[in-house]
Symmetry: C2
Subunit: 219 residues, 2 copies
């Protein structure tokens, strides 16, 4: 009996392991576990996103300790949905949300990504209706760097996804922020003066972003 | 003459490109350029390091807006030296410095890494003698995860490097912090309860680190 019980326990643990398995990166789980033990309060302004969010020190940029970074390199919208509870449970004052470019690199199309983001937005608004929600456009990419092969030729997907984000704003009641136009050159590529790899941003770009967001931070 | 001048200009630009070329990652330059445009002041407590530093939200962990993150994934001690000026020029109140594990993964030995760190420490103390400097031990690694092949079999290099850091503390006048022992199991590996890849930390580990550092933050 003891042997059978031991066997059943082993099976249960293996099954539990299967149930809780995830396709996310090790970094995702490291950051997500950190975000579970850090607090979010009703005074906070939370930046949720991927590597472009992760790469900045937002509280320094805005000189505001209530600004918190919830970015994870490589994260997709499904990943943000899975880790959003510790954010919405704190009922922050504002959330600035940005995502989609990694979903695009995974070959999803604009309608699928827009739907996933719409569901994440619905969930945030359901769980924390008092939070003012800002959804930022996916930034332009610049494939002339040749650095991110999975984004090659997908400029139109970025633009189509952003049109969806913009079109849902009134119905869903969030503020759409056109961070695409902020960083695009005349051809619709990420302006070379703001990047060294065609996807991520240099310090000068974050300063430009700060100036652009300040009215939303302060309103 | 105009053609020759054009040719010479092209050669000069190519040479300049060579001179300013760097072996650091794109992320390094993104973060380093951000750190140049963010300020450091004499009230600040600055965490300088690699991915293990980058991965935390230190100002939230310590509930202190003067705590600033100057971590970059994958950074080596030479990289920290090349980007330390914007930190020391702000003459911060304290610097918490951690590095070495990426140098170890690049096959450098403890004496070389210890010398590089010693030179970085000397430079910090020369440029900002009023800054209180804390040098944190390289964390233990756990190769049973099999995740970082370049660290395989290098547990003794970590320990030898840490012995050098500890031995230089009195002579150089910094505080050595034994973060190695804080996270090591009985066999000298990174305790499995703190990591999911044998190198980086989960949220619970950062809480433990916070409690351990609080006396140094507050002194």
């Amino acid at each position: 009996m003891r042997t059978i019980f031991g066997f059943m326990t082993a099976v249960s643990i293996a099954f539990l392991g299967y149930m809780t398995a995830s396709s996310h990166s090790e970094l995702y789980h490291q950051r997500a576990s950190l975000f579970k033990v850090l607090s979010v309060t009703s005074n906070d302004i939370v930046f949720v996103g991927n590597s472009i969010t992760h790469g900045c020190e937002w509280h320094e940029l805005f000189d505001n300790p209530a600004v918190k970074n919830r970015g994870i390199n490589g994260d997709v919208i499904a990943g943000m949905r899975e880790r959003i509870d510790p954010v919405v449970e704190g009922h922050p004052r504002k959330i600035f949300l940005m995502g989609g470019v990694n979903d695009i690199s995974h070959n999803l199309l604009a309608d699928s990504i827009g739907r996933a983001m719409g569901e994440l937005i619905d969930y945030i608004q359901l769980k924390s209706p008092g939070t003012r929600l800002y959804v930022q456009a996916c930034l332009p990419i610049n494939n002339s760097f040749g650095r991110y092969k999975l984004l090659k030729g997908k400029e139109d997907v970025v633009r189509a996804y952003n049109r969806i984000l913009k079109s849902m704003a009134v119905e869903k009641g969030y503020t759409f922020i056109d961070t695409y136009s902020l960083f695009a050159d005349a051809d619709g590529n990420l302006d070379r003066s703001f990047t060294n790899d065609g996807l991520h941003l240099m310090g000068n770009a974050y300063l430009r972003w700060r100036d652009f967001l300040l009215p939303y931070i302060n309103e």
